[in-house]
């Protein structure tokens, strides 16, 4: 049985995807533009007898996630920039203790309280680690309500496969815009992981991130690093849009990738062979996809609602073998398709 489509905002679609993936528990604290997530979870989790708590803060949420996830549950939280900042100490613990869970950041503009309009300036924080210590988390970058649903659904498997927190990073526009969504089939629930603190499992099970001996911690951290290399080898994922013959390769994620597609079409109408690479995961970064385009491409153009953060990964990915330009805007305004077309023409 496949579902007929529903009209959902991205934030709601995320909750549906999580529930269909068997998510057992949601813990959160209200913030715009992620508000529909906690509101939808408050309704839908109890409807299915699952755990929902409005925590006292984002510090509370993420640590409740830690408890539930350590107990073998699929647990998640969501917030926007400020709240994600508050969570960082615990995300580092989760990464160190290798406890799988899912965290969504529906970004707004910063720094500080900024405003609730769209920006993509949390890239460094989320994609490069965010908290203390040298950890990485896989980062999904949905660009539609459908992907909010699908990626939330996939994120739990990814989290458990690698025993790691997984982020879903998108902007308030993808979170709040309504789109038609077709739901995936619910999963058959399986038993909690053998390493979890679940009655019936070996009671020697425990989680800690403390390693007093340098040799011991070195071993532990090298194992984490190996895991991140494995992700880079296996899990890069990007959508390629008209890149086959592209001489100008745009790179964009989230809402800007949607506008960039229209820009590609218009540029092509004007005789400029443009294409788009849209990372679906930001870590691991789709280096292979970008590298494969270097031979034909004359230039890469990174489009970001930030001062230029992902552009560093683009340059690293292609090892600066082609010029990489930036089209950016900050403060809460989108870059319109017309502006994109003009911007690309100016640098092409």
């Amino acid at each position: 049985m496949s579902s007929k489509s529903l009209l959902l905002c991205g934030n709601e679609a995320l909750v549906y995807g999580a529930l269909l993936a068997g998510c057992d528990a949601y813990f959160g604290y209200p913030i715009t533009p992620a508000g529909e997530i906690i509101e939808c979870a408050a309704k839908k989790f109890p409807e299915l007898g699952r755990v929902f708590i409005q925590a006292e803060s984002e510090i509370g949420s993420i640590n409740m996630v830690m408890g539930a996830a350590a107990a073998g549950q699929r647990a998640m939280t969501a917030s926007s920039g400020l709240g994600i900042s508050l969570m960082q100490e615990s995300v580092s613990y989760l990464a160190g203790m290798e406890i799988p869970c899912v965290i969504a950041d529906i970004t707004r503009s910063g720094p500080g309280i900024g405003n609730i309009s769209v920006e993509q300036s949390d890239y460094f924080q989320i994609v490069k680690g965010g908290g203390h210590g040298g950890y990485r988390c896989p980062v999904f970058a949905p660009a539609s309500a459908q992907e909010m649903c699908d990626m939330a659904f996939r994120a739990f498997d990814m989290a458990e496969k690698y025993r790691t927190p997984v982020y879903i990073l998108t902007d308030g526009m993808i979170g709040q815009m309504m789109e038609s969504v077709t739901l995936p089939e619910p999963i058959e629930k399986s038993a909690p992981a053998p390493y979890s603190l679940t009655p019936g499992n070996a009671r020697t099970n425990h989680f800690t991130s403390i390693y007093l001996e340098a040799e011991e911690l070195e071993k532990k951290n090298e194992a984490l690093l190996a895991k991140y290399r494995e992700m880079e080898a296996n899990d890069q994922d990007a959508e390629l849009w008209k890149t086959d013959d592209a001489e100008i390769v745009l790179v964009a994620y989230g809402i800007m990738s949607r506008l960039a597609k229209n820009a590609v079409d218009e540029l092509r109408e004007r005789g400029i062979k443009a294409g788009l690479v849209r990372p679906k995961l930001l870590f691991p970064f789709p280096k292979n996809a970008l590298n494969a385009l270097v031979d034909r491409a004359k230039k890469f153009v990174c489009i970001e609602l930030s001062g230029g953060q992902m552009i560093e990964d683009v340059k690293l990915a292609i090892e600066c073998r082609r010029p990489v330009e930036l089209i950016h805007r900050v403060g809460g305004k989108l870059i319109s398709v017309d502006e994109l077309v003009a911007g690309v023409k100016a640098v092409a």
């Binding site: 057992d24 107990a71 789109e179 425990h206």
Partner: protein, 505 residues
Amino acid sequence: MKTFRVLKDRPAGFFPEFEKRPAPLRRNMHYCPGCGHGVLHKIVAEALADFDIKDRTTFISPVGCAVFGYYYMDCFGISTPHGRAPAVATGLSRAHRDSVVISYQGDGDLAAIGFNEFIHTVNRGENLCYIFVNNAIYGMTGGQMAPTTLVGQKTSTTPNGRCATEDGIPFRVAEIVASQPNPVYVERVALSSPKEIMKARAAIRKAIKNTMERKGLSFVEVLSPCPIGLKKDAAGISKFIDEEMTKIFPLGKLKDVAAERVPAEHPVPVYDCEKVRAALFPQENRAEKEEFFGEKLREDIYNESEIFEKERRIKVAGAGGQGVLSLAYIIAHMARLRNFNVTYLPTYGPEMRGGTADCSVVASRREIASPIVDSNANMLIALNQPSLDKYLPQLKPTGIIVYDSSSITLPEISERQVAYGVPAAQLAVGLGSTRYGNSLILGALAKMMEELFLTPEDTKDFSAVVEAALRECFADKPKIIAPNLEAFRLGKEKAFRANTGKNPE
């Protein structure tokens, strides 16, 4: 005497060998001689074995000297971030309702950095056992002031003694917990003498028992010796607890309602695929719909009219409160009902508050790239003059306008644009409520589509879809469905073509 058995023997709740401890220190504990943590661990471990709960207990090691609690306890363990044990405990305890979660925290951990998580966990009355180790000092970091440090007490961060006016006064946690309705049991005990240790043992066992019986939140504050941090010998530290600490932190039971507390009922999580689908997948009440629509109800209809092959980029705009968003929402539902991809994007951000409202709706058979409707709009639905004036320049030269002619004077438009008007606001008043304006506009939309674009087959279907969408959008207000359908019919009747545009798309 039993006390000394507790203190001297290795309780069966400890691992036989402390294998999680780095070699070669696997026989003894890491605590300083005379430290209260060791005694408390033994009391807990003894209870785990006596109550036969090792297989369903999680012992939370805090950040503090007890960070290595998991070396010893023969049960599940997790070491949490500094102060966050209560939140982690909440997650653990909700995950497995019959598990026993022991949150073991120092005074810095619980009463300073983690007090917010703590007090809200207390307020929710989670089913947990709290052991709060009040040693009046930060032991692990080398003897700094704790929230429970006594006035005048010298620590490395209060070198002249804690000053009541500058540094605050000892924080009395048990009293705060006892003042709250949800906790079931609150007691303060001390580890200053065999007699007091026996009382502490009884209190901790009771708290663990309450948790096993799902009575709610039990809290035991333990005045605990830290001879190293307080720079005292064994006798000196006991004296300090008995004579100084207990003056500020009086011992005894502060609350006990365990006898009358009935365990709370909790919902059972549902994972059965059929039930999950029923809760999340769109449910169609076919019988009810068929009765309403008769033969008009058809699934998977494919509208053949050429207009539907092109992406429809629609801007709906008007004054705030005019129902712009709900009109756009109905249109989005219409498209979804006929299996188009749809995006619905209300004006986002500060402009919302400017008194005008607008919404972008895109419907397409193909993937929709940009959901923003600006310079490429091919339809403008305007409900007041300012929004028509604002968005007309963005309408394609071949675009379509649908407008409320009771408040809008149509300016000159390009010869390939076409406009349909209906005096929606005015007619709505006649129908009894301005809220019917949207359905009147939908009537004009239907008339325009039928006259210019739709095949006879789709003409029939278009009105059916409007009806279906109205029913869906007003599902929670069934009374207003019929008058809206009436308004829709009236709108269609009264709508008129306002120009003679040649070749709209």
